[in-house]
């Protein structure tokens, strides 16, 4: 027995599935009667959504004075929540685009799901910049649209770059998602028996037939979109970090921000995908497709990005000291020991310490533990944005103008309310759209490869894994 052992890649789809059983597994959810539990969940989500509507209504009526903003801290929960939600969205694009370019076939089980999360997270993020402007009726000044002052936006401002980056990101993510959906919507169209579903899914599937001449262009489009979305997703969080890094506030004006923000975004996004996936696969019985192997792979991504974030935190400290700038040194000392030290250490514990448990294979494959860590990570990433935004503003150059920031009930309500928006959209998605990229999953199971069929009889032959005999070690 050699000391080396060949470990074959685990099968992407567990259980004895063929094309037709996969179709039924995924699309029955959309075709059956709406379960009562769905209505209950929807009611909960709608209640939270109403909370957001009320909080925003009062904000428009009264103005941003209802928030906890004060003189040095002009950016509070609104920007924190914006960055947090946008960051969560990034995992979806990473899974759908970057893993596609790297030919990671396991992405097919979770990409639809993760892309949906991206779109809804970006919607939640978009709420904040739209409402934080104060005079919401002139929000169109953010766009290059002629206005009564005959002025144009300032193209030198990172805040304007953000407008373009986030709106492009939302549009491209939506298109990417829709392109992936078309063949699966056609599947539901062909299985539907009632008039309403036939017409609705018929319209949105655009008359898709599964023609291989169409698939040929389709795959090309998918590849190009993945190629476009990859630099796009990196650019979006880079530009979000420019909102901070291009200013001259101590603790913000650093070149590490773009890569560090992108790593953090992927970190929190994967955690959110895991939170949602672990719940959804249990409720909808998708454990054959969203397997523990997927969870383990995602936990490895969390471990890697979490360590990158941890490295960035330490690097920030080092560079602050190495730069010799008094204000830089002071702000980092204040972060760890000053009035917001509780937030700083919450961030360090959740983001740097907690993912290190995933060095253990046993913990990576533990569903309960993964679920727990996925929530801890998102709490930590919220605190990261809180620490960055608030500490630098509250304690900047002039100690006489320092002040302590705390949110009001309206800040909290708006934030909690965006979960209502998110879950409302997500429940609609689970009910009406196929939650698994069905055509893509079918394409990666061994049955789909023409080479796995016998040359003579055309019968399916399971691919054999040939293990080469390991070379004996020469001493």
């Amino acid at each position: 027995m050699s000391k080396y052992q060949y470990v074959p890649e685990p099968a992407l789809v567990k259980g004895d599935h063929d094309f037709s059983s996969l179709t039924r597994l995924v699309t029955d959810i959309n075709l059956r009667e709406t379960p009562k539990a769905w209505y209950l969940a929807m009611m909960g989500a709608n209640a939270l959504l109403m909370l957001m509507v009320v909080a925003i209504g009062y904000l428009i009526w009264e103005g941003t004075g209802i928030w906890g903003l004060n003189n040095p801290v002009g950016w509070g929960w609104a920007i924190i929540n914006f960055v947090w939600w946008v960051g969560i969205g990034h995992a979806g694009t990473l899974i759908s685009a970057i893993l596609f370019l790297f030919r990671q076939d396991w992405r097919t089980a979770i990409n639809r799901f993760a892309e949906a999360m991206t779109i809804f997270a970006v919607m939640c993020a978009g709420v904040f910049p739209a409402i934080h402007v104060g005079r919401i009726w002139v929000v169109y000044w953010m766009f290059p649209i002629p206005n009564q002052m005959a002025m144009w936006p300032n193209f030198n401002s990172p805040l304007l770059w953000d407008v373009f980056a986030v709106s492009t990101y939302f549009t491209v993510s939506l298109l990417f998602w829709y392109v992936g959906l078309v063949p699966d919507l056609a599947t539901i169209r062909d299985r539907a028996t009632d008039k309403i579903r036939k017409v609705a899914y018929g319209i949105f599937s655009l008359g898709w037939t599964g023609s291989n001449r169409h698939w040929w262009n389709y795959e090309k489009a998918y590849m190009i979109l993945a190629g476009l979305a990859t630099p796009l997703v990196l650019s979006v969080h880079t530009i979000v970090s420019f909102d901070f890094a291009v200013s001259m506030i101590p603790g913000w004006h650093t070149t590490i921000f773009p890569p560090y923000f992108v790593a953090g975004a992927i970190f929190s996004g994967f955690a959110m995908v895991l939170t949602l996936m672990i719940v959804a696969r249990k409720i909808y019985g998708m454990k054959d497709i969203m397997t523990d192997d997927h969870m383990e792979k995602m936990n490895i991504v969390i471990l890697v990005t979490g360590s990158m974030v941890g490295f960035a935190y330490i690097m920030e400290f080092f560079i602050a000291w190495y730069s010799g700038v008094e204000y830089e040194k002071a702000i980092f000392m204040l972060r760890a020991t000053g009035p917001y030290a509780w937030a700083y250490w919450a961030m360090m514990t959740c983001n740097v310490f907690s993912p290190q448990f995933f060095w253990s294979k046993k913990l990576r494959r533990s569903v309960g533990f993964t679920f727990f860590i996925s929530i801890v990570v998102n709490i930590g990433m919220w605190f990261e944005r809180f620490v960055i935004t608030v500490t630098s503003l509250a304690n900047d150059y002039l100690p006489s103008s320092w002040d302590y920031y705390s949110p009001t009930i309206w800040d909290v309500m708006t934030y909690v309310g965006t979960f209502g928006l998110f879950f409302t959209m997500f429940l609609l998605f689970l009910r009406f759209l196929p939650m698994i990229a069905l055509a893509e999953v079918k394409a990666v199971i061994p049955l789909a490869d023409p080479h796995n069929y016998d040359e003579e009889t055309n019968e399916y032959v399971a691919p054999k894994v040939e293990v080469p005999e390991p070379q004996s070690e020469k001493v």
Binding site: W161, G210, A448
Partner: protein, 181 residues
């Protein structure tokens, strides 16, 4: 062109058992000299492009064109707004502030390229299509589930119903039917 009764025939549709058989019949159709044929499967089949002798997709050129358009629109828009129409002196920076314009130029290039990729793909595929004669076949619904179909259209110059049926029969089709407009 053959007509049965008063209905016009669209083509002959045959069902096969698996991706391998479909790839084989695609090669057969090409070798027999048919050009207006197609194969249908619930997912893209690896190697089908070669079997069907498909030319490289033109989509890349459409995307490139849109990308260049997006790039030009971005530069033209910012140049007009910040240099020609209402120049503003912002901290003494030049009106044509190229480095600061990079992000927006990039975003608009990506945005227009993505439009080109998605709408170009639907355009090349002739979608959305309101009616397709293939949907008259009840069996064809399986094409989005677990069915593998091949179709030779009546528009093909070489189309002769009997010969086409014989070709499919020989290739091992499990079901052959005529599809009418």
């Amino acid at each position: 062109m053959s007509t049965t009764e008063d209905q016009k025939i669209h083509g002959i549709l045959a069902e096969f058992r698996n991706p391998k058989e479909l790839t084989d019949v695609a090669k057969k159709m090409v070798n027999s000299g048919y050009s207006k044929f197609d194969t249908f499967s619930p997912f893209p089949i690896h190697g089908m492009d070669k079997a069907m002798n498909l030319k490289k997709s033109k989509l890349g050129w459409i995307v490139l064109g849109h990308g260049i358009l997006g790039f030009s629109i971005a530069i033209a828009m910012m140049y007009f707004m910040s240099v020609i129409d209402y120049p503003l002196n912002i901290s003494g920076k030049p009106f044509f502030n190229a480095p600061a314009w990079v992000p927006i130029t990039f975003e608009l290039t990506v945005l227009l390229s993505a439009f080109g990729a998605v709408f170009g793909m639907f355009f090349l595929n002739g979608l959305p299509k309101l009616h397709n004669p293939l949907f008259n076949s009840e069996r064809f619904k399986k094409a989005t589930d677990d069915g593998f179909f091949a179709c030779i259209e009546a528009d093909d110059d070489m189309f002769e119903a009997e010969k086409v049926k014989a070709l499919f029969q020989e290739a091992g089709a499990t079901h052959i039917e005529e599809v009418y407009e």
